[in-house]
Amino acid sequence: MSAVDTVTLTTPRARRRILLRKRFLRRPMAVAGLVIVVGLVVVALFAPWIAPYSPGATDFNAILASPSSKHWLGTDFLGRDELSRLIWGARASMQAGFFATVVAMVIAVPIGLVAGYYRGWIDTVIARLTDVLLAFPFLILAVGLAAIFGPSLLNATLALGIGAAPALIRVSRGEALAQREEDYVPAAIANGASDATIIFRHILPNMSSTLLVQATLTIPAAIVGEAILSFLGLGVQPPTPSWGTMLQDAQSYLSQAPRLAVIPGLAIVAAALAFNVLGDGLRDIFDPRTTR
């Protein structure tokens, strides 16, 4: 039987990969989420080639035009092609989503690891400060920071990353606290490992699945956050397209062309939902208690 062959011929690492893939494929929601996420990333990366028009090209003969064969999703108040702007807008969203999460991880994970591993006063200080920051809702924090940094996509990304860090600090601290008590830690110390070796080579890899799941939950929050910041004028600046600025532009024309608000809105919902269900799926398949 071929299944027996795969088991005996492959390395353990490959076997685990096969198992995880099997578990993943049994979850249709997660698969759908992955498909949408991959689609969005491809669209964002190849926007210049995919978009039928330049996102800034105006056509004054077709202002607020309804969907047609020429403009599939119609045009906005300056006659710009809505579909092209949506595709280019995916760029801003994906950039903000991924890079804000990277920023958050880079800040939060080392702090959480140090707090959880060393405990003592340093842990108390970090944990209390995190609690204080967590008292502010994520968006309030991000809006405040973005207002301080000044409006641009880069600053909005930084603000969202810093805003998302406290929650991640808490998660990685908790995980480090738990991993620290595992027997392999004293065993590694007894084998002469230094603190840095234990933190980065033993504890961090053991947290990777938790962090991956956290990342897939932070990305949609950052995508929504970017849209909100851009809507408020604190993120991407017009005329650069972003789902947030598109929503804002649509605001004045809600009665004449409601689709201009509905379309970017749906895009935001779809992106956030896709990342969320993907994250849920990943959490399930990495959970050792999962049997399916």
Partner: protein, 326 residues
């Protein structure tokens, strides 16, 4: 006799707790010669593990360690942390009780053993891998070329303990501390692991400190035995001497609690030691064993017995030593 490899003198360990200090180890002294197997025996919580962990300072920060542990002319208790990590795993290594959890679950066993080799001996990744396969062969793991790429969860308990032993012996340490290495294992596997330990250490000339509560294990592989009670040394002698002429009533009690199926037709009820171990928080003024001792009297309760050499090379801390019925 040559200088001992490890000379521990007046080792005391205290833990600070909310309810006051706990004296886990009190003025322990012992020595270990190169290539020797020393068994440390005692009940749970008598300070066996703490004694050994304190030698390379593996205890949490709440512990205060006093005394001296001379190893190769250096006092391990006064060594800088950096120097100490060069000793840990390189010259003194440990095998712990729990093979199921002492390995990092996310790395292959090859990578974990290899990491120790890379750190202490500066081997390259490739050289380390080749050496790991040799080591796995040494601890008699079948098909080491394949096992080297497996994760801990794919190995049985006995296999994992073999991996732990391979890791501990990777840098050919001078001292191997085995902390109840077989307690968590199946009885049928225990003997195999012990034989393996004894065999390899004999071959490599490694001295072993074997911590156990199982006198059978000690009789099996130790050269010398140290009996601990409530953080103090109760009795120490060579293994044959101890089993033939136990002097301390605690040792006699321990020996009486071992089932001996070959003892004749009448199957006796096993003798137990009455009472419980005193709290290490408030040790009695006199002998810690007095409450449970059939030979206790006024002196025993009022004074602490000092170690005395009762017979040649046989130390006992008791006011009324002697074999039962003698």
């Amino acid at each position: 006799m040559p200088d001992p490899l490890l000379q521990v003198s007046d080792l005391s360990v205290r833990f600070a707790t909310d309810e006051g200090p706990v004296h886990a180890v009190d003025r322990m002294s012992f020595s270990l010669n190169a290539g020797e197997v020393l068994g440390i025996v005692g009940e749970s919580g008598c300070g066996k593990s703490v004694t050994c962990m304190s030698i390379v300072r593996l205890l949490p920060e709440t512990a205060t360690i006093e005394g001296q542990a001379l190893f190769d002319g250096r006092d391990l208790l006064a060594l800088s942390p950096r120097r100490l990590s060069a000793v840990r795993g390189r010259e003194i290594s440990f095998v712990f009780q729990e093979p199921m959890t002492s390995l990092n679950p996310v790395f292959t066993v090859g990578r974990q053993i290899g990491e120790v080799l890379q750190r202490h001996l500066g081997l390259s990744r490739g050289a380390a891998r080749a050496r790991v396969i040799e080591l796995l062969q040494l601890v008699r793991i079948p098909a080491p070329e394949r096992r080297v790429d497996e994760y801990p969860h794919q190995l049985s308990g006995g296999m994992r303990q073999r991996v732990m032993i391979a890791m501990a012996l990777a840098c050919q340490p001078k001292v191997l501390v085995a902390d109840e290495p077989t307690t968590a294992l199946d009885v049928t596997i225990q003997a195999g692991i012990l034989d393996l330990l004894r065999d390899i250490c004999e071959r490599l000339g490694t001295a072993v400190i074997l911590i156990t509560h199982n006198l059978g294990v000690v009789a099996d592989i130790a050269d010398r035995v140290l009996v601990m009670y409530a953080g103090r040394k109760a009795e120490e002698s060579d293994v044959g001497e101890l089993f033939a002429h136990p002097q301390h009533p605690y040792t006699i009690g321990l020996l009486g609690a071992i089932p001996r199926p070959s003892d004749g037709e009448v199957v006796e009820r096993l003798r137990e030691i009455p009472g419980r171990v005193p709290s290490l928080r408030e040790l009695p003024v006199g002998c810690a064993f007095a409450e449970r001792c059939p030979r206790a009297d006024e002196t025993t309760r009022a004074h602490q017995p000092e170690l005395r050499e009762i017979r040649p090379d046989h130390l006992v801390a008791c006011f009324h030593p002697g074999e039962d019925g003698a």
